[in-house]
Symmetry: C2
DNA sequence: TTGACACGACACTAAATGGTGTCATATAAT
DNA sequence: ATTATATGACACCATTTAGTGTCGTGTCAA
């Protein structure tokens, strides 16, 4: 009943390496303002802010204003959709299947 | 020693819903030719073929020619990278953390 | 051998993506 | 009061993306 503000596909949100790194930084740091996050990347503030907006649209990030800064915080729970999705396919890389796919790869060349 | 042909980021490959559906179809069907896959989508053969190329570049799909058709097969093992990645964050949606994030959401509004 | 089928390769296009720089405004510090 | 900081909101741009249509070729069937 709470978090169905999924304007953005979570798979899409995590596709970008910059956004995955943002997720990682926020996982370590509890809460970080935009300017501190920006300092970790070789791009400008505007670009980082856009990535954070996308993460927000996917529900992966929450923000709040504190004084003149906007602090961001991780909300990892939408990642459960990813976990559920990938879990379904884990049966395809059991040890038996691994041998099979290796054989197929050799056949490929 | 075998499958480091990763021209394409796996996260990127699974970001598109069409490609996820292709993966799903190939998980059910063992091996399918392009025209049968195409029949499942509201788009043309060329578009589906391009998606399959992207999946191939990510190592998620293998293909072989049989007569006049090209048959595709799933190779799910690169998905392990996704599973490993998401597993790291699963600690953030334990029951305790869920309550916390709900509180933060209320505070948000 | 003629025709239908399956495909790869290519040229093209509209829209989304991932950046940039600038301006205005609110807040903090001196 | 003045100045520096942090940000949002824009306008802008190059590249990538996701689709289209067409043409040529190899293969199967009649």
């Amino acid at each position: 009943m709470s978090e169905n503000n999924q304007l953005r596909d979570v798979f899409d949100a995590i596709a970008d390496p910059t956004r995955r790194r943002l997720i990682h930084l926020l996982a370590e740091a509890e809460e970080l303002p935009l300017h501190e996050l920006t300092a970790q990347f070789p791009m400008g503030r505007t670009a980082v802010s856009k990535h954070l907006t996308i993460l927000k649209e996917a529900g992966l990030v929450l923000d709040r204003k504190v004084g003149r800064e906007t602090r961001y915080r991780l909300n990892a729970s939408p990642l459960r959709e990813i976990q559920d999705w990938v879990a379904f396919y884990s049966k395809f890389w059991s040890t038996n299947m691994l041998r099979l796919s290796q054989l197929l790869e050799e056949e490929e060349e």
